[in-house]
Amino acid sequence: MANFIGVFLRSLEYGSFYALSALSIILVYKTSYTTNFAQATLGMFNTFLVATLVMRQGWSLYAAIPIGIVSAVILGVLIDIVIIRRASKAGPVGKQIITLGLISVFLGLTPIFFGVDNLSLPRFISSGTLTIMGTPFSYNALFNILFGIFIMLTMFATIQKTKIGLAIRTTASNETTARIMGVPTKTVTMAAWAVAIVLSLISGLMTAPYSSVSLTFMNDVQITAFLATVVGGFATFHGPVIAAYGISVLLNIFQVYMPSGTIWGKPLLYAVLLLIMYFKPYGIFGKQRLKKV
């Protein structure tokens, strides 16, 4: 039982990483109508910036994070103004490939700015463990869980209850109508990109201490986040987030309780998800968009 609680808490922690990335993907999808394949790379780039400040310049982590957030916001605004706004002529696949172009650009920029070596990043809370029902658990993990849930709740409250959220929802449901109604859709899209990249950065900062900051360290998180968005459905904001936590729990259960689970846990999870997708092709929380003939 103690083991199970440990597994469950760890799932919640990894679920935070996936959910943050999934929320980042769905925000961009809803406002720009494109799947952002560059989500991981943009998160990686900003995490590299923070890691460089901490490891090379000797800054404190808490001083470096605001710089990372500012850089993320600037990147989001620039990407929207310079590229996404001009891509109105490109088709849906074309827009996705633009984000592939972004991956390439930032994979090229990172070694130029931050060098080719992998960096390591300290945890938010460097030491201390507490025991929950006989399971040792670090304060940092607890912080990751709570902070992840806090961000989710803040984002949902903003989207559902505030005027800004209303603007986002209107843009998401129909951009042309939203513009006619006086919603500044361009600003909304720009802000969505900025927030999305900040969310990727936070996901990166949480993930990095468990591996190292390398060019590809976010890729696995991104693929799981994509799965979460599809399983949860692109139709809602909360679907992908709930799916992200669910996938994390499933993955950890497979990996711990299955024989040779560390090897075959992931493929089995993918197969199970494929099965879920087969019976719920528009996501568990999604609904089919009816097409007129």
Binding site: K95, I97, S104, V105, I263, K266, Y270, P281
Partner: protein, 351 residues
């Protein structure tokens, strides 16, 4: 003569002949030997991308699993020729049939999905393959990779590097002709109808189930051929090669080159894979910025040529025609266009 040159077959064969001369040029010292290798791999990627172009360009179904199927074929071919020591022809057969059956299975699954949901579903399949590549070490050699020799035709002719290159070029020309024929015939029309509207296509008597499976089948066959050629030309295969980035690169080839265009696929492949290798890598100062340049090129091409480079000649000829005062697609000259009223402009837009 001009008529013969206009025929697509002769254009494909001409392209093949031009590519066949490259090894001689390299021998004469006009180009580097590595250039031939880069062009060889570019052709291999063109073949896989062409399969995806049939799937995406004609029938409008997206796949992010191309790299997975290509990798599966590569590993099967390497395993059959090296570990089981069976003839090359048998390896090719196994490496095409097994992935294609799986590809058709994905096609059956795909009936449920649309758009990006289908993309991620195929990505999941490719990720399952990738886990197999990493973990089933007896089959794939795990992280150290699988080795494969050059192809040995009919058990007697062992090809060398240049001869393998010739084989690749010949296969490319044959596939170009085959795909040209298939897509110009009733298959192409059925797929086109399906892309426009599945309901309308069904009403016209197009069997959606059958044609989706055929489209997935063609895409997987070409990905498999490309995987077999890859592993015997490059000589090894790592699990890290067959990831999402490669599948996205194939998509980029099609978008940059142009949907439904065979030459466009070749041009796109050249831009995505060969351009930076040939022009930037040899210069030490620029070698580090190759991904940067590639990314910027992709973005610029999509922003300014959203219909792909294959349509560039139409754009140029339209522009020239308008400059010369000839009539454009709406039957208007440049000066006439300036004098249009607002209502007439709107009418043009709706056309």
């Amino acid at each position: 003569m001009k008529k013969i040159m206009k025929h697509p077959y002769s254009q494909f064969i001409l392209l093949g002949l031009v590519l066949l001369t490259l090894p001689y040029l390299a021998e004469a010292g006009a180009i580097r030997n590595s250039t031939v290798t880069v062009i060889g791999t570019t052709i291999i990627y063109t073949i896989a991308a062409l399969g995806l172009n049939v799937l995406l360009g004609f029938s409008g179904l997206i796949s992010l699993g191309t790299a997975g199927f290509m990798g599966l074929a590569a590993y099967i071919s390497a395993y059959v020729t090296e570990t089981m020591a069976l003839p090359f022809e048998l390896a090719v057969l196994a490496a095409i049939v097994i992935p294609t059956l799986l590809g058709i299975l994905v096609g059956i699954l795909s009936l449920k999905f649309e758009g990006i949901y289908l993309g991620i579903a195929t990505l999941v399949v490719a990720e399952i393959f990738r886990e197999i590549f990493i973990n089933v070490t007896s089959f794939t050699g795990g992280a150290t990779g699988a080795l494969a020799g050059r192809p040995e035709l009919f058990g007697t002719f062992r090809l060398d590097r240049i001869q393998t290159y010739y084989l690749i070029v010949v296969v490319m020309v044959l596939i170009f002709i085959l795909i040209h024929n298939l897509t110009k015939g009733h298959l192409g029309r059925a797929l086109n109808a399906m892309r426009g509207s599945e309901a309308a296509a069904q009403a016209m008597g197009v069997n959606i189930f059958k044609y989706r499976l055929i489209a997935f089948g063609i895409a997987t066959v070409l990905a498999s051929v490309s995987g077999v050629l890859y592993v015997h030309y490059v000589g090894l295969s790592y699990p890290t090669t067959w990831n999402l980035m490669l599948s996205l690169d194939f998509l980029a080839i099609i978008v940059v080159g142009g949907f439904r265009s065979i030459f466009g696929t070749f041009i796109g492949s050249f831009i995505i894979f060969a351009m930076s290798e040939l022009f930037l890598k040899p210069i030490p100062a620029l070698a580090n910025i190759t991904p940067l340049v590639k990314g910027i090129l992709i973005i610029i091409f999509i922003l300014y040529y959203p219909n792909g480079l294959a349509n560039i000649k139409h754009q140029v000829s339209h522009w020239l025609a308008r400059r010369k005062g000839k009539r454009d697609a709406f039957g208007q000259t440049k000066t006439e266009k300036k004098n249009l009223t607002r209502a007439e402009v709107r009418e043009n837009d709706t056309v």
